[in-house]
Amino acid sequence: MSDTLRLDEVVEFAENPEPRCPCVLLLDTSGSMQGTAINALNEGLQTFKEELVKNSLAARRVEVAIVTFDSSVNIVQDFVTADLFSPPTLSAQGLTTMGAGIHKALDLITERKNLYRANGVAYYRPWIFMITDGEPQGEFEDVVEQASLRLQADEASKRVAFFTVGVENANMMRLGQIGVRSPLKLQGLNFVEMFVWLSASMSAVSQSKVDDQVALPPIGWGTV
């Protein structure tokens, strides 16, 4: 055998889709978010995109979806890889149908996983990142309770990781009862820094190896 043989010139690789790292932003667009809060949030979304695409693997692996809740629940952005994500400009009005929003976010994740499985796409544990300045309002209490129970079951079975960020006047105690993880309190309207952190965290997750304990960056933008 010739020692000049270059295996990398003769061996071809399987074309598998990139593993995906789904992240739903579940955003409160109720009336109380009007003004500086919603503007800061919009600015934060721009930052999120900019930061994600700085990392070429994260740009291809992290998939972003946006669900808003006010008097109704809307899928503003269905799942899209970070490189193709075009941040929307959100406006705020109406009530806070948070329970329905949580249901919708969990539905989206379930559908997405089914799609991944049907197409042989490997994936990481999905994240839902909820941002609110209030508490559930304008929907039946049992909707919220059902959402909370479903969320807790999904967390327990590792189907999702759900994070809550409270802004300004958010009812932190109520939020703490809905999710499993302690809600984080955003300092002021520091959305930009928060989204820089979220991008860094998603990048870390999307490149983690088998059984890596993913070390998330320290949180400088809020408090537990």
Binding site: L7, F13, A14, A122, Y123, Q207, V210, D212
Partner: protein
Amino acid sequence: MSTTLKQMVHWRVVAASVCGTSHVKNEQLCQDAHNWQVLPDNILVAAVADGAGSAKLGKVGSMIATTAAVESVQKHEISRRALSSDDFVRSLLTNAMVAAKKAVEEEAEATSSSYDDLATTLIVMVATPEGVAVAQIGDGVAVARDYQGNLLALTMPDSGEYINETTFLTSFDSIDNAQLRLWRQPIVNVGVLTDGLQMLAINMAVGAPHKPFFFPLFEFVANIDDKSVAKEQLVKFLRSERITQRTDDDLTLVLAALHE
């Protein structure tokens, strides 16, 4: 006729483990390991292991596991005749996994470490000209090719629901949950690899090995003249830009061909 032919054949083997670029960057040791032996009667035993990235002593775990697994098979002084019994093959592979697990646990105790510090996957393969048997805990893949050119994935990566999870030898029920596969078919090639190469070597959607990946490599190992040159070529391949562009993980590849 086939008896004379088979007496003349022998295994040609080339294997390498190289450190992934992410580990080089972080000055970590390569956490993959491999070990193989050609035993009398044309029996090839090979083991590969991938120490967990989060385990402090992942490299130690994978080295100990592969060494212990190969030694365990070697100690049985097996013959191809004995391997014709499915029960014997099953107990041979189970004993190899038990020996590997015990060796890792003893190392953990000797160094006052936790089992998790030495967490590692493990694949053990026993191949003869008449067939191949594999036991696998965790990620990675073992493949074999028969005379007709059929290429079969004997095992599939066991990575749980999420791509960054898997099972480890050190988990309490690892041996009960191991994949065991026996393929009785005259074979010409076998290959074993750790998860770093999975996405390049397997068409994940259909769970089938990618022929254009394996066939040139099998051709290469069948035609080895000089073992050390061949190993160098394999290492060079695993470090080539085409590979490092696609994966930054540790990589292990064991390739074998029956040669007349």
